[in-house]
């Protein structure tokens, strides 16, 4: 039997997004609404001045949320349905499963990306290059959070543990970094804490693109190096260190 890698990837997309959305359309509504609560609050509180940043922030958190959501989805599949064991005992490799599940999370996020894209078209005044940079930041942060989510899911032994991981990851990647507002709004010395999160570096690039906040070229270069570096490291850990076949 010829093995189709495309089939192996699409399996995850079907199970973890398409069939879920088809059988329970309500999940679509919940996914689309998720990033809007803070976006709306920040926009009202700032009388609209932070709207472009808030849209960028919603983009970043949607992508990070998609990746970290993978941790909970995979933990659920692994611990409650024993799906990971079934997949391990098959020709699918950890890397293919990881790739498929990442794509499935991306597909799951498509509705919100479309809505935010429409808002960005009207309210974020950036050059074409700026939008390309924004897309690159989003893809990098998505890859980082997927890899982190995958590694944690392979180590979690039950759903309660996965909730704990989700809480910690959410604090580090979503609450700590200033994605909906400029980092200068955070008083010292708490700004240093924000820099513990890779999302902060992505947020700085995004805020620079929107033109609301300006950062030096050197700072932006550091931001790129950090997000690319931590993402590559996390991807390497996901492929090499995830607990696929247990020891």
């Amino acid at each position: 039997m010829g093995k189709s890698i495309g089939s192996q990837i699409i399996a995850s997309v079907f199970v973890n997004s398409l069939y879920m959305m088809a059988n329970y359309p309500l999940v679509l509504v919940s996914t689309v609404l998720a990033p809007f609560s803070l976006l709306i609050a920040i926009t009202f509180v700032s009388h609209g001045t932070l709207l472009p940043i808030a849209i960028g922030g919603a983009f970043i958190l949607s992508m990070i949320g998609a990746g970290t959501g993978m941790q909970q989805d995979l933990s659920h599949f692994k611990n409650d349905f024993k799906l990971q064991d079934m997949v391990v005992s098959s020709p699918t490799s950890a890397a293919i499963y990881f790739l498929g599940m990442s794509v499935s999370e991306l597909v799951y996020t498509i509705p919100v990306i479309i809505v935010l894209g429409i808002l960005a078209f009207f309210y974020v005044h950036a050059s074409l290059l700026g939008f390309a940079e924004l897309a690159a930041v989003l893809i990098i942060l998505f890859a980082f959070s997927c890899a982190l989510g995958f590694v944690l899911s392979t180590f979690s032994s039950d759903v309660v543990e996965s909730w704990a991981y989700a809480g910690i990851v959410s604090t580090v990647l979503s609450a700590l970094p200033p994605v909906y507002y400029p980092i200068t709004y955070i008083p010292m010395p708490f700004q240093y804490l924000a820099y513990l999160s890779p999302a902060t570096y992505g947020a700085e690039i995004m805020q620079s693109i929107t033109g609301v906040v300006s950062f030096s070229g050197g700072m932006l270069a550091v931001d790129w190096v950090v997000i690319i570096g931590v993402t590559l490291a996390m991807l390497a850990i996901a492929v090499k260190r995830s607990r696929w076949r247990e020891k």
């Binding site: 039997m1 010829g2 093995k3 189709s4 890698i5 089939s7 192996q8 699409i10 399996a11 995850s12 079907f14 199970v15 069939y19 879920m20 059988n23 329970y24 599949f77 409650d80 349905f81 024993k82 799906l83 064991d85 079934m86 997949v87 391990v88 005992s89 098959s90 020709p91 699918t92 499963y97 076949r245 247990e246 020891k247």
Partner: protein, 309 residues
């Protein structure tokens, strides 16, 4: 070439817990191999090692001549596994779950669709193909999992306690399925339902505390027990010790006498005349298990049996 070989297979977990202790055996051909043992005997650990989900700490194992550690990729092409406590996702239909599983195994769309329908028909559950799993009975849900591994066309199937929790009718239906399958598959089945092993298995292994205590066909295992007849005395009247054989007193007060056919006839006639309530049968796998392991299979903590010789 043997279908399955284990040589000194051991597994010690991090906290020093030894789950498998030098397990060695081989199974020559296809059919059903049932591994029986009490909870915690090491059955799932052995399945997980053979199904390439867990690494052993010692020894080696081969499936169809392929080493499960060194030839992992090739082994995974041959095997499919239904883990203990596996469930088909409730939001999917059998069609969605099984075809996705087949995609994961690398099958193309048309081939997966064909294999799915052929398997559903074979198991006579095709009318449930598009019913969401959450609406299916417990027995059907387990059948969906078994259908997934059958549809995969893997030659070697691992089924870890596939009938646990099923009602007797569902269990019997699943046995029928496995009986059909064993003609052209090697099925590694773990169970603590001894009648399941008796009904299905071509070979039976008894695992206790990580050690393989016995292996063979049911007849070969029977032959290991010196006395092939069992009398169970249920009433409280004093049971007479057999002239030949042994008597075991269970926790529930039931006395079991293992003896020869002749002595069983003599004793049971005598006891019936005294109005003692009893049953007499050729020994079952349960008796063999008790004889070899010295503990009943079901009760984890019970060990009050007293043996007279």
């Amino acid at each position: 070439m043997d279908m399955l070989t284990c040589k000194g297979l051991s597994k010690e977990y991090d906290k020093g817990k030894r789950a498998l202790d030098g397990v060695s055996f081989s199974i020559p051909a296809k059919g059903v191999f049932a591994l029986i043992g009490r909870n915690g005997a090491g059955k799932t650990t052995l399945v997980r090692i053979l199904a390439t989900q867990l690494l052993p700490t010692g020894g080696y194992a081969t499936l169809a001549g392929l080493d499960v550690v060194k030839d992992t990729g090739s082994v995974r092409e041959l095997i499919a596994c239904v883990p203990q406590e596996a469930h088909a996702m409730p939001w999917l239909t059998p069609r969605q779950f099984i075809t996705s599983y087949l995609y994961w195994r690398g099958m193309g769309r048309d081939e997966a669709a064909r294999s799915f329908m052929a398997t559903m028909r074979k198991l006579r559950i095709e009318k449930y193909a598009d019913t969401t799993n959450r609406k299916l009975s417990g027995g059907l849900k387990r059948k969906v999992l078994v259908a997934a591994v059958i549809a995969s066309r893997a030659r070697i199937l691992f089924l870890d306690e596939p009938t646990t929790g099923l009602d007797p009718i569902s269990r019997t239906e699943l046995w029928e399925t496995l009986r059909m399958l064993k003609k052209d598959h090697f099925i590694f089945l773990t169970t603590h339902y001894l009648e399941e092993a008796e009904n299905l298995a071509d070979n039976i292994g008894i695992l206790n505390d990580g050690r393989l205590m016995a292996l063979g066909t049911l007849d070969e295992l029977r032959a290991r027990v010196k006395y092939p007849y069992s009398i169970k005395v249920f009433s409280e009247a004093k049971a007479e010790k057999p002239r030949q054989g042994s008597m075991i007193v269970g926790e529930d007060g039931v006395r079991q006498i293992l003896t020869t056919e002749r002595e069983a006839n003599r004793l049971s006639t005598k006891l019936i005349k005294r109005g003692v309530r009893l049953s007499m049968n050729p020994i079952t796998l349960e008796d063999i298990f008790y004889y070899i392991v010295k503990k009943p299979i079901e009760n984890e903590v019970y060990d009050n049996g007293e043996e007279y010789w």
